[in-house]
């Protein structure tokens, strides 16, 4: 009722809103200051580089052995191990691992004279792509990357920390 009586009176409004009597004036808004999160990953940079090289070698070894699902397994492992790293960094790194892991054996076979182009053209045709060797090679590498990213998604989902409101998404 008292608020109704104050309508239209001088001093009743503050920034367009009705002033509330008997309460402490709200503190002025705190200016937004950018905060930079400290990296939460453990281990030295050299150790992580070594892990990336080892992961690439495992994917390449699996490819050379004909184990086509190794990128997915490596992606899961990377997702489990990469807690604390930014999502963007992990996605780029794992994609690079998959590309190198499947690309190096192909490059080695092509360099040693194996007829890689013919198989690449058949794969491209099977996928409905133009029957060019480059399209087939790109499709094969894309299969590796998709597998690795799917595995990474699973690994990160399994290790996601419960939302407590104290930390951001880490993107």
């Amino acid at each position: 009722v008292t608020d109704v009586k104050r309508l239209g009176k001088r001093g009743s409004y503050r920034l367009g809103r009705l002033r509330v009597q008997g309460t402490v004036r709200a503190a002025p808004p705190v200016p937004l200051r950018p905060r930079f999160r400290r990296p939460e990953h453990r281990g030295s940079a050299f150790g992580w580089v070594l892990a990336v090289v080892a992961g690439t070698a495992v994917i390449a070894g699996g490819a050379a052995a004909g184990l086509w699902f190794v990128p997915l397994v490596a992606g899961v492992a990377a997702g489990l191990a990469s807690r604390g790293w930014r999502w963007r960094v992990v996605v780029i790194t794992v994609s690079g691992m998959a590309l190198a892991g499947w690309g190096l054996p192909l490059w080695w076979q092509a360099w040693s004279g194996a007829p890689v182009g013919g198989t690449a053209r058949v794969i491209a045709a099977l996928l409905g792509l133009p029957p060019h060797a480059a399209a087939g090679v790109l499709a094969a590498l894309l299969i590796a990357v998709v597998q690795a990213l799917a595995g990474l998604w699973l690994g990160r989902a399994l290790t996601a920390r419960p939302p407590d409101g104290r930390s951001g998404p880490g993107i």
Partner: protein
Amino acid sequence: VLPERHRIRQVPRIANAVIAAVACGLLLIVLGAGYGTVPGLGPGAVAGPVRWELRP
């Protein structure tokens, strides 16, 4: 945090893990055995021990 609220906040996390697991399973099935008109390209797309060739 109340246990009930904590449980509710866990739901998206668990759903994300379940969806990711299903997606990985489907990807393995499609790449390994194929689905419909899509051939199982997993074994054929990998370089292989000796030479890159399409294997069943």
